[in-house]
């Protein structure tokens, strides 16, 4: 928690965001970096409200790749929250993860893959899994609410116990396509 977020609510989120939050808590993840996304809003609120966690807003997603690597060098478990459009921003910075090793875990809310109104989201919606694979990041995916907990547990285990780089993709069906009203 930090002074920039004085109005954060002290409530654990329900549903699948709650599953991610409680798994991160149990795994003692301390630094959570993010570029905001509507699909992550509840989780971000819960992180800022938790005194054992530090919520770290970023100006661009690749900052989070470097920050997560640094956090782990210093002894903290960390992860990155973003939406699929941010994944492309991370490509070169992932060379840091490849070269230094160590855990890398990110939770990506998918846009532009299911009933998306905004075509500007579609290129990275289509390309996100391949972008991660190009840079050697293992991809897990949850399409339904009940799949989020197991995918999160698998990602946490592979990253923090196995030292792997892992992305958990959270399908757009979980969040719903944003409705634009004219």
């Amino acid at each position: 928690m930090n002074a920039a977020h004085p109005h954060a609510l002290h409530a654990s989120p329900a549903g699948w965001p709650g599953d991610i939050f409680s798994a991160l808590k149990t795994a003692r993840v301390r630094q959570v970096a993010y570029v905001p996304d509507g699909g992550h809003a509840e989780l971000i609120r819960a992180i800022h409200a938790d005194p054992a966690m530090i919520g770290i807003p970023l100006t661009t997603e690749e900052e989070g790749v470097a920050l997560v690597s640094g956090a782990w060098l210093g002894g903290d478990r960390a992860c990155l929250l973003m939406q699929s459009s941010g994944v492309g921003n991370c490509i070169n910075m992932l060379s840091l993860v490849r070269n230094m090793g160590g855990p890398f875990l990110t939770f990506v809310t998918m846009r532009g893959e299911w009933g998306e109104f905004n075509p500007w989201q579609v290129p990275m919606g289509t390309g996100t899994p391949d972008a991660f694979r190009l840079m050697g990041v293992h991809v897990l995916r949850a399409d339904r609410p009940e799949e989020v907990g197991p995918a999160t547990a698998a990602g946490i285990r592979m990253a923090y116990e196995g030292g792997s780089a892992v992305a958990v993709l959270l399908a757009q069906q979980l969040i719903g396509a944003k409705v634009f009203v004219k």
């Binding site: 301390r30 970023l58 002894g75 060379s95």
Partner: protein, 196 residues
């Protein structure tokens, strides 16, 4: 700015900065700052970056938040910092007391043929200050490097950004290990952590 006279010698600046580094962890931005830090002698707590351009300061932030009692110093160049300039605001939001970002500003991209960098017109210290970092300094004299070294190796009231105007001479390269896995293991071991 490139018009400054009596620009400082980069190796002398970094040597003074790290002379009494104590427990400090040092992260180096790719290119000449990596060589400058290596020229001071190898160290268990040096994190040498050979890539990840734009990530030096914000990687140092991750370390600083994890080790709030340990001074963390990012030593980077003007070009590398410009690529991650938004991280000034990210650092300001967290306000770590143990993080100092030292930018060796020669106004050019030395690694790639000496093309002019944007600091010919852009003021990195001003950008840091405008991003919320109150202690943002522009340094032109070795006397001020003394004060910076004292600040960088201790805890302050918040983060510090120092833009040190250095000469444009290309110096002999001192090449530290490029094995990031070895660096990772060594740094973590020096902090009493498991290597993996």
């Amino acid at each position: 700015m490139s018009t400054a006279v009596n620009r400082l010698d980069r190796r002398a600046v970094v040597a003074r900065l790290l002379k009494d580094r104590g427990e400090a962890i040092v992260v180096t931005g790719l290119g000449s700052p990596t060589y400058d830090v290596a020229a001071c002698g190898d160290h268990d707590r040096n994190v040498y970056l050979w890539g990840a351009m734009g990530g030096c300061a914000v990687m140092a932030l991750g370390i600083a938040l994890a080790r709030p009692e340990t001074p963390v110093i990012a030593v980077t160049g003007d070009g590398e910092m410009l690529m991650g300039v938004g991280s000034f605001a990210t650092i300001a939001m967290q306000a770590p007391k143990n993080l100092t970002v030292v930018i060796l500003d020669n106004g050019l991209y030395g690694e790639t043929g000496g093309q002019a960098s944007h600091t010919v017109v852009a003021d990195l210290a001003g950008m840091a200050r405008a991003s919320g970092i109150a202690d943002a300094r522009a340094i032109d004299a070795m006397g001020d490097v003394e004060g910076l070294a004292t600040r960088a190796t201790a805890l302050g009231n918040g983060p510090c950004v120092a833009v040190v105007r250095i000469g444009q001479a290309e110096l002999e390269r001192v090449l530290p290990t490029r094995d990031g896995h070895a660096v990772r293991a060594r740094v973590r071991q020096s902090l009493g952590l498991s290597i993996d």
